[in-house]
């Protein structure tokens, strides 16, 4: 089976979850991704049990363990750079320069390299050197104070890093596409700051456009939501939360009002303006009472029967056992050599002619050293033996 990135070789220097995951997405769709595991190995103790994180973010990858700070190791790295199409990294610029991995050097070895770097705050500006820490970027983005209920602490979601992960893969494939046509490589920068801002899509754009508005600067109570039938949260009889997204209340009111036991012609609520403006708080109060009359399961069925855009808020156990999730390979069941049947996040994109693969779980450090040095770099068995004996590769 042909895969989208069959002809692409990636050198993965990602330390963070989100950067390594970008490279994993490339590997899922066919790229040969080689992780560089620095020697001497970090002696940090690994937690016992299944390393579920590694098997997600390093799946389908190879590992080369290399002491690139020594001359011999640096020579190996130079040979490797000549063979790869893509570098993915989240290192700081000074670390990259010290290791001979700065873009300016890499492009002298491989002029058409596509060089993807995750930064904290973008390639330019006074904060270009701040470290790529998602919490720092999220704190700057302006959304954290308005996500919770009033009086509650700001909320860090972690979703900005996930946006960055997909944006990085997107930028890299787009640059590869351009290269295929023109032969030209380039740098791709995705910052956690920029990614967090894109995740904050509507509120941020609204504030940019309007430039004012307390309701965009302070949390809004769920009992003061702008549209009682959209973006709202109500507790049901068994404490499970119900959420509604029906911005066009005129369309839904006849069937919705019956469902929640309100008179369709109740004069307080019989127009969109009354429901969302003049009698908005009364309607919220009425719905707060109404949803507490039945448990979550009842409401889910009622929403389904009426084809309403509304649902019950679930915990992770729901997708973990949802047959729709399995059918689409969004979550996979793996046969792990040490831990038996385990579940892991799968593939968010379905492609008919480039089926996402799961060929192997995360490599052990250095597992593919011989293979990379021999097949890709053409080193003799003797050279490989020497490098291994000297501890330059492991």
């Amino acid at each position: 089976m042909s895969r989208a990135l069959d002809d692409v070789i990636v050198l993965d220097l990602g330390r963070q979850f989100c950067t390594a995951l970008s490279a994993a997405f490339l590997a899922d769709f066919g790229a040969r991704v080689i992780r560089l595991d620095p020697l001497p190995a970090n002696a940090e103790p690994r937690p016992a049990g299944w390393n579920h994180e590694a098997d997600l973010i390093h799946r389908n990858k190879e590992s080369l363990a290399l002491d690139f700070r020594r001359d011999q190791g640096r020579a190996v790295l130079t040979d490797l750079l000549a063979k790869v199409d893509v570098v993915v990294t989240d290192w700081q610029r000074d670390e990259l320069a010290a290791a001979g991995l700065a873009y300016e050097r890499v492009r002298t070895i491989r002029p058409d390299i596509v060089y993807g770097r995750l930064s904290g705050f973008g390639p330019l500006g006074p904060d270009a050197a701040l470290p790529p820490i998602d919490e720092l970027a999220a704190a700057r983005t302006g959304m954290m104070p308005i996500l919770p209920q009033p009086g509650q602490p700001p909320v860090y979601t972690g979703s900005g890093a996930m946006h960055a992960s997909v944006m990085m893969a997107f930028g890299i494939v787009m640059a590869l596409f351009h290269r295929l046509e023109t032969g030209e490589g380039q740098e791709v920068d995705v910052s956690l700051f920029g990614a967090n801002m894109y995740g904050a899509a509507l509120d941020l754009q609204a504030f940019l456009a309007i430039g004012k508005g307390d309701r965009l600067l302070n949390p809004i109570s769920r009992l003061d939501v702008s549209n009682p039938m959209s973006g709202s949260l109500y507790p049901s009889a068994d404490g499970r939360w119900v959420t509604l997204t029906m911005p066009d209340t005129d369309r839904w009111w006849p069937v919705f009002s019956k469902m929640v036991g309100l008179a369709t012609d109740d004069p307080r609520f019989d127009t969109h303006d009354k429901r969302t403006e003049s009698h908005r708080l009364e309607l919220i109060e009425a719905l707060e009472q109404a949803f507490q009359r039945h448990p979550g399961a009842y409401w889910r069925q009622a929403f389904m029967d009426n084809q309403m855009s509304a649902d019950v808020i679930e915990q992770f156990d729901y997708p973990a056992s949802d047959p729709q999730v399995g059918a689409n390979r969004y979550i996979l069941e793996l046969d792990h050599p040490s831990f038996g049947k385990v579940k892991s996040l799968g593939f968010p994109i379905f492609m008919s002619d480039s089926t996402a693969r799961l060929e192997r779980l995360a490599p052990c450090s250095g597992q593919h050293g011989g293979q990379v040095l021999h097949e890709l770099l053409g080193y003799s068995a003797e050279t490989i033996h020497q490098l291994t004996a000297a501890g330059v590769v492991a």
Partner: protein, 402 residues
């Protein structure tokens, strides 16, 4: 300056947010994106006039930003004549993207099989709600899908309601996922000459919004699904704290030297002298006590004073800003995460979200905001699709175009 997606034409049959923003990413990098809309009212996103009970301003920034750099054709796809126009467009295009339901597309004779028979090189992309192989038949909106993923239920302090990650958060994520899928297929096609079908669903994407936590839950760590109090985080040095002004996020690893630096920045003798906190394990065990001590110190100060002390000691931290701060953030403007552009609707420059992906040699460009409904219908029919004027008149008579 050359464009990464020069020469790529996209038929953008999408509404609301996820689909339009996917096509926006492609349009920003030079693809020729033609938005197809129903003649009556067009994309429903054109009707958004308020956000959080606030007027959106005198221009519709909901629609105009995510549909920027695009053209618009108004075609009635319920009519066979309208479908004929679309087929002719598909012949001349590289990508077809839709977030309408597969049933609706099939009823308009726009299935993958049909369009691929017209153009075998076509990349046909959908954004379903729950996946290509899903049997669920219910509407899908950002928040109702986010609700199912479990990502909302783990946020907030224990006992508080679940937390939605922000308006459009899930759609924006589904949109970039969809754009990635399309690029993968285009890359493959440039080598093989063959198109394919792809789907990036709102549900499939959003399961990755909380990937580290969901993966941890799948591995048996059930607490990953639950709300966790900021007063009980394992590493008190990596946590958010209230001050007299804004909250501040401290981001330091649980190491002795970093603990000492935080202690100096806060002038908190209790942190440094107390034997319970002398090593990493002790700080993790007595985390709640340490958090309380840090909080007592941060509450004495304004955020500016606290940040100055952190900077002096090399402690990594940030004030937790609001949207009024970020729109003035120099860093955002310098990197073109925000840009200014002309808005015809109000005849002045306006501020918009810019380019979150920076390509050094083929950067994204903002040429124009979203199109007026159907503004390019006739011109594209004549110049691109090579209809004669009489044929266009006939299409109008049939109601295929307005």
């Amino acid at each position: 300056m050359s464009k990464a997606l020069e020469g790529i034409r996209v038929v953008d049959l999408t509404v609301w947010f996820q689909g339009p923003v996917a096509a926006q990413h492609l349009a920003d990098f030079g693809a020729d994106v033609i938005k197809i809309e129903r003649p009556q009212g067009g994309d429903q996103g054109r009707g958004v006039r308020s956000i959080k009970s606030l007027e959106v301003g005198d221009w519709n920034q909901y629609f105009l930003v995510i549909n920027r750099n695009k053209k618009s054709m108004a075609i009635d796809l319920k009519k066979a004549a309208g479908q004929e126009i679309l087929y002719r467009l598909v012949e001349k295009s590289d990508v077809f993207l839709s977030n309408l339901s597969m049933d609706l597309l099939a009823s308009w004779n726009l299935s993958y099989a049909k369009l691929a028979s017209i153009n075998p090189r076509l990349v046909y992309a959908t954004n379903t709600g729950y996946g290509r192989f899903s049997t669920a038949s219910k509407p899908s909106f950002d928040m109702t899908v986010q609700a199912l993923t479990g990502a909302m239920a783990r946020l907030g302090e224990p006992g508080q309601p679940p937390i939605y990650m922000g308006m459009g958060s899930g759609d924006a994520f589904g949109g970039i996922m969809s754009a990635l899928g399309i690029m993968l297929a285009l890359y493959q096609r440039r080598r093989t000459g063959k198109g394919q079908y792809l789907d990036a669903s709102l549900y499939g994407a959003q399961l990755y919004l909380a990937a580290p936590y969901l993966q941890s839950f799948l591995a048996g760590h059930r607490e990953s699904a639950l709300q966790q109090s900021r007063k009980q985080v394992v590493n008190p040095l990596w946590n958010l704290y209230p001050t007299r002004g804004k909250w501040v996020y401290l981001c330091e690893p649980n190491r002795d030297d970093r603990h000492a630096a935080v202690g100096r920045a806060l002038a908190a003798e209790a942190m440094l002298q107390d034997g319970r906190f002398k090593d990493a394990a002790g700080r993790a065990t007595h985390n709640e006590a340490l958090i309380e001590i840090i909080e007592n110190a941060t509450r004495q100060r304004g955020h500016e004073e606290l940040m100055a002390a952190c900077n002096r000691e090399g402690v990594i931290a940030s004030p937790i800003n609001n949207l009024a701060d970020v729109i003035r953030d120099e860093q955002a403007w310098r990197n073109r995460y925000f840009m200014k552009t002309y808005c015809e609707e109000v005849d002045r420059e306006v501020d918009v979200r810019g380019m979150p992906v920076t390509l050094s040699k083929t950067p994204g460009e903002l040429r124009c905001l979203g199109p007026q409904l159907g503004q390019d219908t006739e011109l594209l029919m004549m110049e691109l699709l090579e209809y004669q004027w009489e044929e266009i008149e006939a299409m109008k008579a049939k109601g295929a175009i307005p």
